[in-house]
């Protein structure tokens, strides 16, 4: 398998459209790296530059220390799986997996060995004689993966491979891909716009927006320590709540004014605001839905961080309930226990877990840290 290095990678099309700018990343051998971001953020373009399907406008791409910018795609020792995969309808599973190798004039006995090995890894051994129409959606997806695996490449590139599957199958295939990564011990770069897929699959995640890398981190760190407002809002579902808050610093006491509510900032969070000189300024307060509580015990313990509102929407999801309400004109979501007595139209009291809040600079949108 292989390590990759992307140094200052850029993609500017002849019409001036900047798709990717100053992309820097080192990928270790056997890593499962996820590129995630909204549509048009440059994640697929970056992947295609790694594959050699797009010319690199600037910067250097290295695979195992060798510069690859001008190396033909077929000589980069990579394999790709795309969103719009199609199996050859009249061919068996075996032939579907063997087809690419046949085109490359690989000897028959070698093809046979490679196909049977890939089928074993993917649990397709008993389906090799079947045609695509006799396969389930998940099995078809595995055959598509098999077509990449038979090449035994250094790096796997996957561009939204699960996007065309229904929700249930997507969950199933997510688990399959995760297992596959373990079995193959392969370096995988995986593009998705689905942050759940990103969080569950990746060893590290690259969050992109408008052609720029926003943050590269482990899933847990991205969730707990987003570097800016975009990452905070993009990672997590339901997304983080954002409220404008005016900062008041009096000696060592720091408080936030959110409309008519005054919230006391705990000691662990004060330093960033004091050191950053935010007294009298407005910042963006971020809080995840699971850190807003309606239990009595929490309300009693947190008298300095309580807001009140009328429930607009009550959503029961089985193991949890989402409550939607307004705080000073901004919609807020709370993820609470299904035993909550609150329903549509009820007036509720909520305590914000101030130890878990985030602050963002209103102008730069960067996280305020000490």
């Amino acid at each position: 398998m292989a390590s990759l290095s992307l140094k200052g990678i850029e993609k500017v099309y002849p019409n001036g459209f900047v798709a990717v700018k100053d992309f820097n990343l080192d990928i270790d051998d056997k890593e499962f790296i996820i590129f995630v971001g909204p549509s048009g953020c440059g994640k697929s373009t970056t992947l295609r530059m790694v594959a050699g399907l797009e010319e690199i406008s600037g910067g250097t791409l290295e695979i195992d220390g060798k510069t690859m910018n001008n190396v033909e795609p077929k000589d980069r020792d990579i394999a790709m799986v795309f969103q719009n995969y199609a199996l050859y309808p009249h061919m068996t599973v075996y032939d579907n997996m063997a087809f690419g190798l046949k085109l490359r004039k690989v000897p028959k006995d070698e093809i046979d060995k490679m196909v049977r090995e890939a089928a074993r890894i993917l649990d397709l051994d008993k389906l090799l004689d079947r045609k695509p129409k006799a396969l389930s959606g998940g099995q078809r997806q595995r055959v598509a993966m098999g077509r990449a695996i038979v090449r035994n490449p250094k790096v796997f590139l996957m561009d939204e491979p699960l996007s065309n599957l229904d929700a249930k199958l997507r969950v199933q295939m997510r688990i399959e891909i995760s297992k596959l990564h373990e079995r193959l011990g392969a370096t995988i770069i995986y593009v998705t716009h689905d942050q759940t897929e990103a969080m569950t699959l990746g060893t590290r995640i690259v969050v992109m927006k408008d052609g720029l890398v926003q943050q590269v981190d482990s899933p847990q760190n991205l969730y707990n320590n987003p570097c800016n407002l975009f990452v905070a809002g993009f990672i997590g579902s339901p997304q983080m709540n954002f409220l404008d808050a005016a900062v008041t610093i009096k000696g060592q006491d720091v408080s936030l004014q959110v409309g008519s509510y005054t919230l006391k900032v705990p000691a662990s969070k004060k330093k960033a605001l004091i050191n950053g000189g935010y007294d009298g300024k407005t910042v963006v307060l971020g809080i995840r839905p699971e850190h807003i509580h309606d239990e009595e015990s929490f309300l009693v313990q947190s008298p300095d961080s309580i807001v009140e509102s009328t429930i607009k929407v009550y959503e029961l999801l089985g193991a949890e309930v989402y409550l939607y309400f307004d705080v000073e004109g901004t919609q807020v979501t709370a993820r609470v226990n299904p035993r909550t007595p609150l329903r549509n139209g009820d007036k509720g009291r909520f305590a914000l877990d101030m130890e878990k809040i985030h602050f963002f600079d209103k102008e730069t949108e960067l996280t305020i840290t000490d």
């Binding site: 594959a51 399907l53 790709m80 795309f82 719009n84 199609a86 085109l103 408008d210 052609g211 720029l212």
Partner: protein, 304 residues
């Protein structure tokens, strides 16, 4: 080319068309020219009568009339009527036989799908419309792009035509897709799939006479339109437009202070008289840059 070489070429052509493997020596022939001419006529007649690809190529080249299409199509078991769409698969590299092999396996029903090589860099796929409202041209095009990318490690562009209901209209559909590929290469190089019915403003500019475009540029940029702006300034403007004229966001993305960005924008204003912070001027500038791209491409013939 010697007589023997010419003869061999004609024999090869005959063999590929008919399967007949003849051996002739130029020296044995009393009149090599006449022999050659007869062989060529034989190949051509055979192709016209029995070679489906040749027939389809002729239709796409507008070399067959509608009544003739109706008459000859049935010989190839082709129904000349029926809703169809034409996809043009184009690459800047030479597309070898593997491309045809792949497409034939992806669309294996030869009665429904027609795959025709037009030249080394263009292949046509004519696909039936399954049922009204269920035709998913975008998905078909994307499937072709993705399958070629993953199996053959080559990037291609695919343009698709409007629907047509008789094979005689496929020549027009082919023209539509050729135009779409040309326009796509100039104005939308970031897209792999280009539908003829969504060419947007690029389609409009492409149809303007170059002289009119040059006049427009002279109005906007003065006498030296091509050299008026350097690449860095154009990248800045492009990013500014991508961010819907938002100065703070553009400055952040370009890692520059907002005052630097404002300075650059004012510099452009000095050079062109256009303040791109104002919508109307931004629109003029955007059109002008598209026109520049078009004229550049036309100059270099880079869209072919």
């Amino acid at each position: 080319m010697t007589d023997q070489e010419k003869l061999q070429k004609a024999l090869d052509d005959l063999r590929s068309a008919t399967g007949l493997d003849l051996h002739l020596n130029a020296e044995d022939s009393r009149d090599p020219e006449q022999t050659l001419s007869q062989l060529r006529q034989l190949s051509s007649a055979y192709k016209e009568k029995y070679n489906r690809d040749f027939f389809l190529q002729s239709i796409l080249g507008e070399a067959v009339s509608r009544p003739e299409i109706d008459a000859r199509a049935s010989r190839f078991h082709i129904d000349a009527h029926g809703e169809r769409r034409l996809f043009l698969i184009a690459s800047r590299n030479v597309m070898d036989e593997n491309f045809i092999e792949l497409l034939k396996n992806l669309f294996p029903s030869s009665h429904k799908y027609f795959i025709v090589r037009m030249d080394g860099q263009r292949i046509v796929l004519i696909s039936p419309c399954k049922a009204p409202g269920t035709d998913d041209a975008e998905l078909t095009a994307r499937t072709v792009v993705d399958t070629i990318s993953s199996e053959l490690m080559t990037s291609v562009q695919v343009a698709y035509s409007n629907l047509f209901s008789h094979l005689s209209d496929s020549a027009e559909a082919y023209s539509q897709t050729r135009l779409a590929i040309q326009i796509g290469r100039v104005f939308y190089p970031e897209y792999a799939v280009i539908p003829y019915n969504r060419l947007g403003i690029g389609g409009l500019i492409y149809r303007l006479p170059p002289a009119l475009c040059e006049n427009f540029l002279r109005e906007v940029f003065g006498v030296n339109p091509f050299d008026a702006l350097d690449e860095e300034l154009l990248t800045t403007v492009s990013r500014f437009f991508q961010n819907n004229l938002n100065i703070a966001e553009t400055a952040r993305q370009l890692h520059m202070h907002r005052n630097t960005l404002i300075y650059r924008i004012e510099h452009i204003q000095k050079m062109t008289g256009l303040d791109i912070r104002i919508f109307e001027d931004a629109l003029t500038f955007k059109l002008a840059t598209m026109v520049i791209n078009y004229l550049h491409a036309k100059k270099e013939n880079s869209y072919e």
